[in-house]
Amino acid sequence: MKTRRIDNYGKINRDKILSFSWDKKNYKGFEGDTLASALLANNIGIVGRSFKYHRPRGIFSSGVEESGALVTIGSKDRRDPNVRATTQELYNGLEASGQNAFPNVNFDLAGINNYLGRFFAAGFYYKTFMGIPPLEWGKGTAIWMFFEKFIRKAAGMGSASGLPDPDTYEHAHDFCDLIVVGSGPAGVAAAIEAAEKKLDVILVEQDSLIGGNQLAENDFDNSQIKNQLENLGIKIMTRTTAFGLYDNCVVGLLERVTDHISAPNVNIPRQRFWTIRAKHIIVGAGAIERHIAFNNNDIPGVMTVNASKHYLNRYGVLTGKRIVIATNNDSVYETANQLSEAGANVTVLDSRTNFEIETNKSFEIRKGYVPYNINGSKKIHSLDISKSETINKSETIDCDQVLLSGGWSPAVHLLSHRGVKPKWDYNNACFLPSDKKENITMVGSSRGLWNKNDCIASGIAGTTDALNRLGISKTNYFFPKPGGWKNPIQPLYEVKYKKSRSKSFVDYQHDVTTDDVRLAHREGFISVEHLKRYTTLGMANDQGKMGNIIGLSLMAELLNKEIPEVGTTVFRPPYTPVSIGALSGRNVGKHFRPLRVTPMHQWNIDHGAKMIEVGLYQRPWYYPKENETLSDSYIREASTVRKTVGICDITSLGKIAIQGPDSTEFLNRIYSNSFSKLQVGKARYGIMLRDDGIVMDDGTSWRLAENEYFMTTSTGEAAKVMSWLEELLQTRWTDLNVNVTSVSEQWAGVSVAGPKSREVLNNCVDDSLVVTNNNLPFMGVTSTFLKGNIPCRIARISFSGELAFEVYVKSDFANTMMDLIWENAKKYDGCLYGLEALGALRVEKGHVTAAELDGRVTIDDAGLSKMASTKKSYIGSAMRKRGVLKNNDREILVGFFPTNLKETFNAGTIVCEKNNIKGQGIGRITSVTYSPELGHWIGLGFVKGGLDKWKDTNLVGADPVRNKQMNLKVVSPHMIDPKGERMYA
C-alpha cells in the first residue's frame, strides 16, 4: 500500500515507529500521530459508515469537531465506542475498528439504506410512533414495537462493551485567579500577561500540545512558549477539555490522563474530572471551519481546508494528489500555496468573483466557481463545478480530494453554557460572542479575530479586562475589531442543483441533509428548536459544530428571514463527550455511597448473620442455621422470640440527646401526645407530625433526668428528625433553652425480647433487682451496669409485643454486651434474630413502620388517634384535620388475612371490591409476612373506611404485576395479643 506520508514535513517523531491495528489489520505510524493522521498516512479513506444511510465516511477534520471518523478503540472490557479518530493519539498496540457496519466499513450490507433514503427522511422516527399513514395513522404503537429493534440496530453508532469498566477515574478540585481555556496565540498572551501581573493562572488545552491552530504551521515550535509559561509559574493542563462553564466562575474539566498510553500504570486514573473554581475565565477556544452543502459532499476524501493543512504540517501527510479547494473566503490560500509546494496539484474554486489575493501562483484560481456534485461513492473520482450565479454544469474536474471552507464559526459554546446568546455578524458571516456580566472574557478567534496579531492583542486586552473586573487595576483597553481578511467573505452555505434528489449533507454525524431541513419546514417545523429536534440536526455528540450554521441559513432562506431572526440553538455542556466513568469518579461499586455499619457488625457476621441494606445501614437480615432458607430462618427466629427469647441489633435507630430546662416543653410541642407528665425513669412512645399534619416519624423518648431526654427515631428518618429539631430550635422557637445532640453513633443498642428476656437480663446486670417488674415496669427506664462494670441504659420497650427490653451501651462495649447477653440467651434456647423476623413480629402486632408511614398518612389513618392530644397544641395539630384529611372515606390501617388460609400475597397488592377490580381499588397492602403464631400469611395495609366498614365483607386482592389474585378478609391490625398482656407480663 502506498503511503501518503511525505518527507521533510510534520512534527512527528519519525524515529519512534508505533504499530496499531485497524479492523484487525496491522499498520504503522509515528509518535505524535493521531489515529486519523496514521490512517490517512496509510491511505485508508473509509473509516466509518454513516448513522442512517450507512454511506461510507472518511475523515472530515483534524479536531474535536469531527463528525465522520468516529471509531471504536480497544477491545473487551476496554472497548470505547464513538471515539473521534482525529483526537485519539496513536500509541503502540492501539486497536481500532470502524463501527455501524457489517461485516466492515468497506463492505456494509446495510448500505442498502442509502437507496431507501425516503424512508429515513426527517421525522421518520417520530412517524413510526404514529403508524404508517393512512391506514394506521394515530395508532402506531404496534408497528413501532415491531420495527423498533431493527431501526435501533440500523441507526446507531458503536456499542459499549456491556462489561464493568476496569479503569479508575478521579474527581479533583482546584482554585485559581484566572483560568484560560485554549493555548492559541490569544490564550497564551492572556496567560502570560496575567502571570506577569501576579495572578495565579491555569492554562487548559484539549490537545496534547500547546499552540492551538499554530500547530498547523510548518515553522511553528512551541518549546519556547512552553518554557516561558512554565517559568512564569502557570499551571499548564494539556489533554484537558473545558467541557462546561457553570455558576460563579466554575469550570468543568476533563483531563485524559492515560488515553494516549499503551500500558498505563494501574495506579494512575484513566481520566480526571476537575472542578475548577476561578475568579475569572478567559476563553480563547478558537474557531471551527465550516463545510459547504452540495450533492455527495460526504464522499471519503472531503475534508476542511484547515484540516488538510494540519495533516501536512503537523503530521507530514499529504491528504490528496489532485486537490480541489472550494471556498468563499481568504483563509484557504496559504494552505493552497503549501499543498502545491508539497507536490499536490491544486485548484481553488472561489465563489467570489471580485477579489485580489497574493499567492505563489503555483495553482489555478477559478473565480466565481462553486462545486455542486461529487462523482464517486467510496472515493472521489471527479467534481462537477458550476459558475456561482446560476448552477449549471460547466465542467467536471478529475480529483481525489475536495477541501471545503464555507467560513469559520467562533467557538462560542462555553459562553453559551452561561445562557448568553451570540449575535450574528454579517461582515464575517458568523455568530460572535455577546458581552456577559459575569467574569468571562472571550479572546482570539472565538471572538471572530482571524489574524494572529489581533489574537495576541485580544489576549492582553482580555487579561486587562479581568484585572479591572477583579479590582486589581483600572486600565483602559480595547479589543481589535472582528475580521481581518483582506477581502470580505461571501456567504455560501449550500449549492443547490435542482436536477435530482440530492444528498447534500448539513450534519454528517446524524445524516441530516438539506432536503430534510426543507421537509421539516414543509411539515410546519419553523422554530429552530423544533427543526433541530425533528431532523436531529446538531443533536449528535458533536452538537453540530460544523453544520449548524448551514442548517440555520437554510431555515432562514425558507422563512424569508435573516439568520439572526431565525435564531441560534443553545449549546449545552459538555463541549465534547464526557465518559460516564469520569462523571462517577470513585463513587462506584462499594464506594457508590457511604456504608454504615453498627459497632457489632462483625459480631453479627461472625454469628452467622446474612446482612441487608436499610438506608445506608447494613443490618442483620436473618441468621440461618445449616441449610435454612430465609423463610425457614425468620419463621424459626420469630417463633423463638414468642416462645423463649431473641436478641436483635437495633443500633441503627436514630438517637438524640435532648438537654436543657425547656426540654419537656420542647417535646410537648413536637410530639402529638403529651410529655408534660412523663416521670423521670419512664419512656413514652411518641408520634411527630409535619407542619401540614401528616405523620413524620415515630419513636420513643426516655426521661433520664428532670431536664434530660434520650430520643430514639426510626432508622430511615434519623437524619431528617435531627435537622428538623435543629431547625425548630434555631429558627422558630429561639426562646427555648434546649440543646439537641445526635448520639446515634455513640450508643450501641440491642433488643432482648420474649417471655424469658427478663431472666436473661437478670443474669447480665450487676444488680439483678433493677429489672424486676416492680423496679422496671412497662416503659420503665434505668441507668445501670452490665456485669463487668459496663454502664448501660435499659428501657422496657416492646416492638414485638412480647416482654422486651432495649439495652444501650457505649459503642466501644458493643461486642462485650453482645457476648454477655448471647451467652445467657443460649441458656434459654434463645436465638439471634434479624430484620425479617422483626418485621414478622411487628406485623402480627399491627405496629407501623416506614412501609405504612409513607408521608401520606395521618395519625388517624394509622389508627393512632389516641396518640393525638386534644389538650394541647403541637406541630401539625392545626392542620391534621384540614380539607381532605378529614374525609371519612380515607384509607385506614387494617390487617388482612387471605380468605383461603393456604394462600399467600405480596406487599403492593391492590385491595378491591369483589365486582369492581380496577384502578386504585379501595386500598392497598403495605407489609406481609408469614405468621408463625397464626400459621398462615397475614398483611398490614390500608382500606377506605377501615375495619368497621369491611369487617364481614369478602374483598379481592389484585396483584397485576405478579399476575395474581386472591380473596381477602379485613381484620383488626392487632392480630396477636390485642390487649398487650404479654408486654405487661
Binding site: D691, D692, E727, T731, S873, S877, A878, R882
Partner: protein, 94 residues
C-alpha cells in the same frame, strides 16, 4: 455552583449544605387557626431576584443560616445565623 460563606466555618461548597426554604415566613403560634397555618405553609412568593432563604450547614457546623441569594444569578449578598442571639454574637465579633 454556589459557595456559601458560613459565619462559623468560612466559605464552603453548597454540597455541604441542605436547602431549607423561605426565611421570611413568620410561623403562627401552635394554637393558631388552620387558615393561618395554611397561609404559612403553602403560599410562597416566586421571587425573581434576591430572596432570603434558609440553608442548613448539615455537613458542617449544623447551623441554620439565612442566605440572601439571587434566584437569577445565584449571587449571594449576605449570610447570617438564623438565631437572632447568634446573629448578634456574629455581628459583634466582626
Amino acid at each position: 455552583m454556589i459557595r456559601i460563606n458560613c459565619p462559623y466555618c468560612g466559605e464552603r461548597d453548597h454540597s455541604e449544605f441542605s436547602y431549607g426554604g423561605d426565611a421570611t415566613i413568620n410561623y403562627p403560634s401552635l394554637d393558631a387557626s388552620e387558615k393561618e397555618w395554611t397561609e404559612a405553609i403553602f403560599f410562597r412568593k416566586n421571587i425573581k431576584g434576591f430572596q432570603f432563604e434558609t440553608w442548613h450547614h448539615s455537613n458542617g457546623c449544623r447551623m441554620w443560616l439565612v442566605v440572601e441569594r439571587s434566584t437569577v444569578t445565584h449571587e449571594i449578598k449576605s449570610v447570617k445565623p438564623c438565631h437572632p442571639d447568634l446573629q448578634k454574637v456574629v455581628e459583634n465579633n466582626k
